[in-house]
Amino acid sequence: MARSRTFICEGGLALALALLVCGDARAGGAASAPQLGQPASAELVERWDLSVYPDGRGLPAGAGTAAQGQAIYQARCAKCHGSEGEGGSGGTLAGRGALTDDDPDQTVGNYWPYATTLFDFIRRAMPMDAPATLSDDEIYAVSAYVLYMNRIVGLDERLDAKSLPRIRMPNRDGFIGIDAELPKRQSTR
């Protein structure tokens, strides 16, 4: 009996201590953190922020057409992606085969849901042997050429911060959210 009372007593003390510690940790976030963050200027954020969203937020000024992008593509991209976007050491970019085919190529034309992703990815990561070396005009032009190879834009269609997000990709509605919901969006074209 005495033993069990001692046990209860120690248990009570442990519980009280645990509550104290938890309470302290919860009280803050703020209270327990040293708060050493330095204010980031709008200029720094602007310089660092590379993200381009499906609605076009983040797209820079500039413009290009597939006609202009063809030469850039052949010089900078074809080595890995093939002269007609058929793929190689890099992914297959062009093709509109059905995704229900056996072993289908998943391309920009039949798989990618947003054209803005193309600009975002090329600007941050391509070409792989010299990333971030294309100008914004060149990136618009190469994006246009990749879309042209997929019969999504015409040779002389001008792509810029306004027109790129308006492109409705063929597989825009081809996805199912599993562990998070997909954002709901209006079709614009």
């Binding site: 330095q38 890099g90 998943q106 042997d129």
Partner: protein, 372 residues
Amino acid sequence: MRTPGQPFSNYGQPSVQERGVARWISANRAVAGNGVSWTPLHDLEGTITPSGLHFERHHNGVPQIPIDQHRLLIHGQVRRALTFSMADLARYPVRSQILFIECGGNSNAGWHRLPQQAQAGFVHGLASCGEWAGVPLSLLLDEADADPSAAWLIAEGADAAAIQVSVPLSKARQDCFLALYQNGERIRPENGYPLRLIVPGWEGVLHIKWLRRLEVAREPVMARNETARYTELLPSGKARMFTFVMQAKSLITSPSPGQRLRGKGVYEIRGLAWSGRGRIRSVEVSTDGGARWAAARLQEPVLPMAFTRFRMAWDWSGAPAVLKSRATDETGYVQPERAALIAERGRHGYFHYNAIVCWQVDEDGEISHVYL
């Protein structure tokens, strides 16, 4: 030993006799820093992957980052956009956790029509487990005063791919942290030095290495690596997106292909199990291709979202046998047979293959990979 031994060393290395225990590299023929290296799970014991053997997936090489110059930026839907130096972050309260990290593309050879003949780690070793330690992300989100109505966090690395992904903010607040340490020492360059986002139990691509930017956002950014890749095409033509949780998986690491049983007698079947949903509840092992199953012993402690080692004694009669393991996690999820997984997903999803693995032992003790 009658002669004096080697002197001290500043940083110890494995015995030179163990140099065969190494990551296996599979890289892009045109760009050496684009590809993967696999953890040799078949050569390891216990649950912790040595840092130098932790798997790698790089999209464009390992950047060399001066720690004194590296900064983390938090911005977007916040009241205060902030930068942090690595020295600043080292003063914050530390969260430490033993966790597996698994690439969404791990075990993808399982979708092939014929069973791949390779050592276990070189098919399933885009998964590793270590102790990660660093700053709870919720502290930094509070300090920046993130908008409560924002739902996503965009994370970006400082590598040549500037890789970025979107993570639900609820997960970021729940248990994510920014690791500075791996297995007690600073993170290895190939694992994200000096700063890596840790997203417990979720797919590897979200664990952004060389982390430099976090943007609080109202919606996902729809990056290439969450739309064109790391999504899974189904037979219907639709594709699964935001498949974050790594479902329960198990694998017998010994005996396994490349090893050989030397005569009948008692062997210990050893393997690993893990689940992104929490703890492993049980692992069953079959030595007759799945007709009968027996519970394996789990090595304690069994930790959530960490490798769990299982073991079972086996008296081999010398006759052909097929070894399988099947994990069940604390949510009751049971690792599926391959036929069931393929019936559900088809064969072109590439990512998130977690079916039961079968090793066939022939009468000479040779082991091969089979589908059953």
